[in-house]
Symmetry: D2
Subunit: 280 residues, 4 copies
Amino acid sequence: MNQILVGSRLHYLVKEPTVFLLNLSVAQNEHQATSNESIEISPFQTVDECAVGQSGNRLLRLNALPGELTIAYQATVELHAEEVDSTNLGEVSYEKLPADVLTYLNPSRYCESDKLFRFASEEFGHLVPGYSRATAICNWTFDQLTYTPGSTGPTTTACDVLLQRTGVCRDYAHVSISLCRAMGIPARYVSGYAVNLQPPDFHGFFEAYFDGRWFLFDATRLAPVGGFVRIGTGRDAADVAFATMRGDAECTGMKVWANEQQSGDHLLDPENVQTAVSSA
Amino acid sequence: MNQILVGSRLHYLVKEPTVFLLNLSVAQNEHQATSNESIEISPFQTVDECAVGQSGNRLLRLNALPGELTIAYQATVELHAEEVDSTNLGEVSYEKLPADVLTYLNPSRYCESDKLFRFASEEFGHLVPGYSRATAICNWTFDQLTYTPGSTGPTTTACDVLLQRTGVCRDYAHVSISLCRAMGIPARYVSGYAVNLQPPDFHGFFEAYFDGRWFLFDATRLAPVGGFVRIGTGRDAADVAFATMRGDAECTGMKVWANEQQSGDHLLDPENVQTAVSSA
Amino acid sequence: MNQILVGSRLHYLVKEPTVFLLNLSVAQNEHQATSNESIEISPFQTVDECAVGQSGNRLLRLNALPGELTIAYQATVELHAEEVDSTNLGEVSYEKLPADVLTYLNPSRYCESDKLFRFASEEFGHLVPGYSRATAICNWTFDQLTYTPGSTGPTTTACDVLLQRTGVCRDYAHVSISLCRAMGIPARYVSGYAVNLQPPDFHGFFEAYFDGRWFLFDATRLAPVGGFVRIGTGRDAADVAFATMRGDAECTGMKVWANEQQSGDHLLDPENVQTAVSSA
Amino acid sequence: MNQILVGSRLHYLVKEPTVFLLNLSVAQNEHQATSNESIEISPFQTVDECAVGQSGNRLLRLNALPGELTIAYQATVELHAEEVDSTNLGEVSYEKLPADVLTYLNPSRYCESDKLFRFASEEFGHLVPGYSRATAICNWTFDQLTYTPGSTGPTTTACDVLLQRTGVCRDYAHVSISLCRAMGIPARYVSGYAVNLQPPDFHGFFEAYFDGRWFLFDATRLAPVGGFVRIGTGRDAADVAFATMRGDAECTGMKVWANEQQSGDHLLDPENVQTAVSSA
């Protein structure tokens, strides 16, 4: 498996003592091996790292004083995602879902699945249950929405997006997650780095649960799922904001990258829907 | 400490094979000792019990066939809640909050704290930080809302309630939780049995986090906090619905009770705000 | 042209002096000739009638004292709606629409057309402009929604309905109106009596503007457009509520009817979309 | 009475043939006499002017070809607003309100008064009915909100603003209008030019109805009510947008002015609430 160099560099103008919570470190799990990882804060200061939840999220926390602040993260990641033939991946019946997976059927702040039962049922209820139904939801989301930077904001929900028909990666994920949950398919939000994403940025995509495992999906088709490096997992974007601040600081610049050591030609085409990628 | 007999009896008419997920068993934690617990399903069938999350939630799951169904739960509970003088209980600064508590600062489906930062800050920003600020939020919620059964439904959120000014226990909790989170105070929803609640029913209240512990609050003032028996803990009511069904079943009757073995006179008056009750 | 007997009988329990505003009289315009009209209030009292707006709306106003109240209205109506071949009815360009028609392109309380420009454009933008596009909007609305009494309430809007996919006649009209306006087709709400409506009730439908005239549409297909007797015209249901009260009164019963003197066989089938009915 | 020079100059880059609907001409009514009025379009073309509604609104309509477009309007206005002692101005009871005024009790797109009955009643229900109650609503709105350019957008409603607590002039007006209507006081939106407004711009304020007349209010306190020159009157901002386009054109610049011929010292202080200004 090839190596991916990921990283991000964030610049802030801190106006008063400000606590930063950062979700930008690569998650720790068996599907991605990290090496040469570094986090540098300038001016120098120590960072508190803590694990959050069961999915390998690593929260960085620091206390910044007024002035300029740069946060630079990088790591080399080896992905061990498993590629599976999706043909026979089935939905898990409600009575057999593990208890900790059931949580991902509940509605969340930006994924109001409880308002979309009939909507989902009428659009997708006639389809054969299984992995292909989540694919159908992604295709539908891709067809319905127009990717439009700036068209949504931090409080925009899946229902808002279903009406306005525009959004960015986070919104595509929220819509797909909401429709999956409304159909009884557990689904959750994933933030990460993405090889070949243009323009480079943090990416938001999602996972749905079939046959006892989580599989990656991305309704935006902006980058190959096989090149996704997980940062955090949550119910929706509220759980994995890359930076949350308490105090007063202004973001003055940001750079994000995810480059394969060799060409990414072997990565799955974003439109290849036959091969499922299990990474959690 | 006195003993409390809690229980619930739910009747359904099941119209097609239906999976039930039930949150009605008393949670398992060090603050409440349960004995003589029983769950009876009629017609007889086994129930699958599973633990959910870190707070002792116990999910019951059963697969009902068409026909009448009765679910009867009861238990004897000894509460070991600790009563503390609330005077000096302080808010925990953002940089010191445990990682698993940070989650309860995030907005959730029915608690859109991300839309209420300025609202909360203008109403409560001038108050001294600490336990008394959560009390002020409860008092404000109690004053603003009129308890009105039937005025809200399953998709009603804290923002809806802030505008319509009516709600039931679940709505009072959602409003208080949202305002706490918007002020930087971690807060979470608790469902439970409540001694002296009139009319007897499942109850919804909440917890906020001070000085390293969770404390119980109830903006409805309908029953003494010291007589609350926890069923489940979650981000909001979405996580601890007492019954979720997949299939088709109609609730035809319900009885809920929570009785102290002796008189409840020793229980704190709902309006006593000096004594904090730590139960988690 | 045949005669239609319409009427309504409303019973209230008035608990304190209450002003009633009633929209239940047949509108006065050249398309419907009214005879034998009577309005009886019991216990007896006089009613103030006033014309509202430009479309023949007649508002009845009365001041009720505590006690039982019955309002009985009836009239015989001869409809002079004109039936036209819809084939060549065109949309009027923005620059040629009469000023008083332009108003009906604006969003209103229950018709948030300003949020649906892209939605409407993607669903209907590829269709040939003209009467048939409004027909397509009605068909789409009929297909998407399930008529479900009780599923919506007085504050439900078109956007709510588009997400929940259920509603009653008023909601069908609001959705269709919103989509027409978003496409640049002036549209307005009409309340009325409807021959052959089952169960008999006040009905809500709508009008859209083509080639200088208003034409009737009804996305519910519950009754033939040719048997609609107009009560009031407005931007949406907010303008023509059949009863608005200021005080305290409870509705204890209601009967509404609209019967043709002879069989209604000659009325257009609700699904006949070739023949347009111009009634304003 | 002094003379006010008002005007506006709008620059557009028109990308395809575009119809413009403009609400920027001074309304024609007995309270404001206009002279030296001119509207110039460059490149030259004729403009279609039409009266809309009953309040003197004058809609300008033009058909622009691709290229640069400048619309320049100016006029000299003499205001004949009547200043009255507000002390005894009373609310008009529901049964005596003129039919065409009743319309302004209905909820509208950006003024969801139907959702705010209890809210308004609890905040203002205890106050003495009359002009001073609308003043109290303005004061409350001024106190609750923070004037924040850019914090709201074209689809923001009064309910949104009540939760987020920020807005601009249009939002202040929508909140005040909604609360007035919910209290049974007819209220409507007014757009106009405003002497001493800083920075100069089109302004949005509102009117409420007392003792048979409409009186001007402005919850923003940004400029003296006595220096307001009316452009248009409507249910809310949806009815009097200064420019609506159908086609594709980008606004590249805008200048608005309203200058008194002599010093405006005689104008009422925005915080003088004793003197009511009747201008319609």
